[in-house]
């Protein structure tokens, strides 16, 4: 009968575990790459809000600030009469976000008053509810100078 030397089973199992652990890493990376792609395409084109700055963003400084931006739907048509909520986040985690409700000043043009708490990189998430009740999402980036 075939008999393994003492400790052989343990060594084999240990080797299998080490190899398995090492295999988990690339599998995880692969899975996450796929997931990232999914995330990128998870927002359907109809719900994408196209936003662009009107404000001269290079002049942003910490303190009370008025954000001016233009919003368009995917079709390129200006977004009119929407209720727009702005959430400003610094790209560094752990910084308190700022919130504001934007007001339409001209068709497709909105302003939101907020307070930029710190210099650095900011991302403003825009959530617009159209008069028909459709929810659109977009974002704007800016760097606030010290």
């Amino acid at each position: 009968m075939f008999v393994l030397a003492p400790g052989t089973t343990s060594r084999i199992l240990r080797a299998v575990t080490h190899v398995s652990i090492l295999c988990v890493l690339p599998l995880g990376i692969g899975a996450c790459e796929r997931r990232s792609n999914l995330l990128a395409s998870s927002t359907s084109p109809e719900t994408v809000l196209h936003a662009e700055w009107i404000s001269p963003i290079q002049q942003f400084r910490p303190g009370p600030t008025t954000l001016h931006f233009r919003l368009k739907q995917t079709s390129g048509v200006a977004l009119r009469g929407a209720k727009v909520v702005v959430e400003g986040n610094m790209t560094h985690p752990g910084m308190v976000p700022v919130y504001a409700t934007a007001v339409e000043t001209e068709p497709g043009r909105y302003i939101a008053k907020t307070e930029l708490t710190m210099a650095g990189e900011w991302v403003f998430f825009l959530e617009a509810t159209t008069p028909e009740g459709k929810l659109l999402n977009g974002s704007l980036n800016s760097t606030v100078a010290p």
Binding site: S10, R14, H18, V24, T91, P93, M95, V96, Y99, G120
Partner: protein
């Protein structure tokens, strides 16, 4: 709740949290402020780490999730090898500590949930690979960069694991606290309780207490920082100040803390931008390499060489070699080093302590966004209050460092102790002044924009 109970409760809890953070980091939203992995690891974990060390002890090593995974692994695999003698020092850990600091800046780890999750996963993989092969707490003692940070910092903790009665230890013949017994393992970091001094290398796992048949191990109050001036040979370590690896660890710890804080403010960005604009292409690591060399090599050299030379003359210790004097006085930098880390981490933790609530609400629990509610809730302490806290921490740390420097000088030359300590106290004050300048500068937060 005792530390034993805390450790037993914390380990599985933090293990589950670590698994959850890996999943959220890999599969959750990839915008750092909206991801629990980046938030908990870089803001809350580090904040709670310094607070627990300051008010209690090395609690996060006691509840380490990686050790929990290792212990699970050891139920199936018994390690048989011993860690090579040549590697029984802190050099690998120091290299990993500096590498971690560099990677943090270079790859903006705070801004990447994915890489942060991989980092946690990496810790699990490495501890399992090392500690299922080698006996004892090899990973904790010789590899773990976070552990070394905790070991150094906990030298300032107000609690210490020690023997209740030296006489009871004197009559002990079994040394279960070190060797363990059939029911309970002993100290895996090779700290023998009767000869253990201070908290360095102690994970507060309390294995020694569980193993002691005489119930002679306790968690006792100690004067924070007192152990830094000791010139005693420590169990499992020897005389700490005589060890070059310990000296380099202190330099990496103190000046790394300074660098890590400096990297958050505008002058650091301007310096890097200036190098990129004038000399090299965007994307190169050179500006960061230069910054690291300046902080971890040039600055210590420029500070310590003349200080040691002056102190030799003012303290009349001409017989003491320069390097020896530097090594002897460097433990005095640990309090200010810790003060810098504590001031930095407490800023992030205090200003954003509750910022995880909207993420839990919307991203994890999938409840509808409630911006009006979040706008009404204060999610952290205002910066106007946090900055004085930071400066107070720095000043307190500076005072402790100054006292420790004097304690060390007293041991070297009691007659000229004041004059011997003075140059080293000046170094402490210079470091404090630089740190205070950094912390009073407006922060210039960077991260990674979505889509690069």
């Amino acid at each position: 709740m005792s530390v034993m109970a805390a450790g037993r409760f914390l380990k599985p809890l933090l293990f589950l949290l670590a698994i959850a953070l890996i999943i959220h980091g890999l599969f959750g939203p990839q915008f750092a402020p909206k991801n629990l992995t980046t938030l908990f690891v870089w803001i809350h974990y580090r904040g709670l780490l310094v607070i627990s060390i300051l008010v209690f002890a090395n609690l996060l090593c006691a509840g380490c999730p990686f050790v929990f995974a290792r212990d699970l692994g050891r139920r199936f695999f018994t390690p048989r090898r011993l860690w090579p003698m040549k590697l029984r020092n802190k050099w690998i850990a120091i290299a990993l500590f500096v590498l971690a600091l560099f990677a943090y800046e270079r790859f903006q780890l705070w801004g990447s949930p994915f890489y942060t999750a991989l980092l946690i996963l990496g810790f699990f993989i490495v501890i399992l690979a090392i500690d299922l092969t080698f006996k004892g707490a090899t990973f904790c003692k010789y590899i773990c960069p976070v552990g070394q940070f905790n070991f150094l910092s906990s030298m300032l903790s107000p609690f210490e694991v020690k023997a209740k009665s030296a006489a009871t230890c004197g009559s002990c013949k079994t040394y279960d606290c070190l060797k363990g017994n059939l029911q309970q393992r002993g100290c895996e970091l090779k700290l023998f309780i009767p000869k253990k001094t201070g908290n360095f290398d102690c994970t507060f796992c309390m294995d020694c207490k569980r193993a002691c048949p005489h119930d002679n191990v306790e968690l006792a109050f100690t004067l924070p920082g007192r152990q830094l001036a000791d010139d005693l040979s420590r169990s499992g370590l020897g005389r700490l100040w005589q060890r070059r690896d310990f000296t380099c660890l202190i330099i990496a710890f103190t000046f790394g803390g300074l660098l890590n804080a400096f990297a958050m403010v505008t002058p650091a960005h301007q310096f890097q931008k200036m190098i990129i604009t004038n000399f090299i292409d965007t994307g190169s690591s050179l500006p960061l390499v230069i910054l690291f060399l300046v902080f971890l090599l040039v600055a210590p050299l420029l500070l310590f060489a003349p200080t040691s030379w002056i102190a030799r003359h003012t303290g009349r210790t001409q017989s003491m070699f320069h390097v020896m004097q530097i090594q002897r006085f460097l433990p005095a930098l640990i309090p200010i080093g810790f003060g810098i880390w504590a001031a930095h981490y407490s800023f992030h933790f205090l200003t954003g302590a509750l910022t995880f609530l909207p993420i839990l609400w919307s991203s994890v629990l999938k409840f509808p966004a409630a911006p009006n509610v979040w706008a009404a809730i204060p999610m952290g302490v205002p910066i106007t209050i946090v900055t004085p806290i930071q400066i107070s921490l720095l000043l307190l740390a500076c005072m402790v460092s100054v006292v420790i420097a004097h304690e060390i000088a007293l041991q070297i030359n009691p007659r000229r102790s004041r004059w011997l300590a003075l140059p080293w106290q000046t170094v402490v004050i210079l470091i404090t002044a630089f740190a205070a300048w950094v912390f009073t500068l407006p922060m210039d937060m960077r991260g990674t924009f979505i889509g690069g």
